[in-house]
């Protein structure tokens, strides 16, 4: 169904009613998460999806969810669940230029779980919210379909959790307060414009 819907919908032109406000699109994305817990070596890979509702010629909103897995250290695995929304400000009013750049800010709720590899019952979890800032661009493949590239930094607003290895033993720690440690996220998304809703 996912393959067939854009396949047949693509034969119809995207009818724009007045402005670009109301364009509804949906898609999937791959996420690469770097600097997990401040360590460049702990790179995570994620799978997610989003839908977008455009509010004006220059403003679009993205509503997304991601599932990201990566190492926390050599003895522990980190799993992140993100659900949130982004506001994108386009640097051009053109509807489908080949490249459509934007800056963005975002907010999300996240749930993080660290699990010891040798003992899956030893884990620590945290729910928090986070803010993101970044930028990217749509590469428009057709009037309806684009590849979207995004880079953004996520700062967690909540308790910090991390794993420490002491004397060969894995210990989890939880600290209150916010810090600049978070993720540097890269997304590659595929989006399909379904309709102009209003």
């Amino acid at each position: 169904m996912i393959v067939l819907f854009p396949f047949f919908g693509n034969s119809q032109p995207l009818n724009i009613k007045k402005t670009q406000s109301g364009i509804f699109s949906t898609g999937i994305r791959t996420t690469i998460s770097t600097f997990n817990g401040g360590e460049l070596s702990n790179i995570g890979t994620g799978l997610g999806g989003q839908f977008m509702i455009q509010l004006s010629d220059r403003i679009n909103t993205s509503w997304y969810a991601d599932y990201i897995r990566g190492s926390s250290n050599e003895l522990s695995t980190r799993t992140d669940y993100h659900i949130g929304w982004s506001v994108m400000y386009y640097l051009t009013k053109k509807r489908t230029p080949k490249i459509k750049p934007f800056v963005m800010a975002a907010h999300c709720f996240d749930y993080t779980k660290l699990t010891e590899n040798a003992n899956l019952s030893n884990s620590i979890t945290r729910g928090s919210s986070a803010i993101q800032m970044g930028g990217g661009f749509h590469y428009n493949l057709t009037e309806r379909m684009d590849l979207t590239f995004v880079s953004q930094y996520m700062i967690h607003l909540g308790e910090d959790i991390h794993a420490e290895v002491r004397n060969g033993n894995l210990e989890y720690e939880k600290h209150k307060g916010a810090g600049l440690e978070g993720h540097l996220l890269f997304h590659i998304g595929i989006n399909y414009k379904i309709a102009d809703l209003w």
Binding site: V3, L4, P6, F7, T45, A118, L141, T142
Partner: protein
């Protein structure tokens, strides 16, 4: 062997291009099921998957494609193959550069894998399941020999890391080769 088949495909394509109706156009849909050997890049295992795919062309240069791979066997010079069970699935796009009925393409697809590892055994003696996000990058060629058939050859790189493993290297990148007969149909009339 694969290189030879690709060269053969190119020669057949060049011979037939001037004589045939062109099948690559918006509305072309193709599907196939084939066996795919897959070489793990971080250990010595060779996996064998059954591959199924469904692809639709949005225009001559862009298609959307879903794909699934089911592990049916593996061999390794080591004690046991890396995967005990594995399923991969992906959904992505492909960019095409067709010449007549000969098509070459590059693709990108977000994907995931569900797997069990031979070396990963929990305290109950079970092999835990691992659900891992991944992505695929693909390159290949297709020659549409008739309105219902095509020959294809392609290589796919899957980036995967299996996590939550104790003293096991979970890097599970694979280079998968798929060659065979595909089925295609034009679902829209020529404009």
């Amino acid at each position: 062997m694969v290189r030879g088949m690709i060269i053969a495909l190119c020669l057949v394509a060049l011979n037939g291009t001037a004589q045939q109706e062109t099948y690559i156009r918006p509305g072309l849909m193709r599907s196939t099921m084939t066996f795919s050997p897959s070489y793990m890049l971080n250990n010595t295992t060779t996996n064998y998957y059954v591959t199924g795919l469904l692809e639709g062309y949005l225009n001559k240069h862009l298609s959307i494609r879903s794909e699934a791979h089911y592990l049916v066997g593996a061999k390794s010079p080591e004690l046991s193959p890396f995967f005990k069970n594995s399923i991969r699935a992906s959904l992505g796009i492909q960019l095409h550069a067709p010449i007549g009925n000969f098509d070459s393409y590059l693709g990108f697809a977000p994907s995931f894998s569900v797997s069990q590892l031979n070396a990963d055994i929990d305290v109950n003696g079970d092999h835990p399941f691992h659900f891992e996000p991944s992505f695929a990058i693909k390159a290949g060629v297709t020659y549409y020999v008739w309105k219902f058939f095509n020959f294809f050859a392609e290589a796919t790189y899957y980036n995967t890391t299996v996590l939550n493993l104790d003293r096991i290297n979970g890097r599970a990148d694979e280079l998968m080769i798929s060659v065979g007969l595909g089925f295609n149909i034009n679902t829209m009339k020529k404009r």
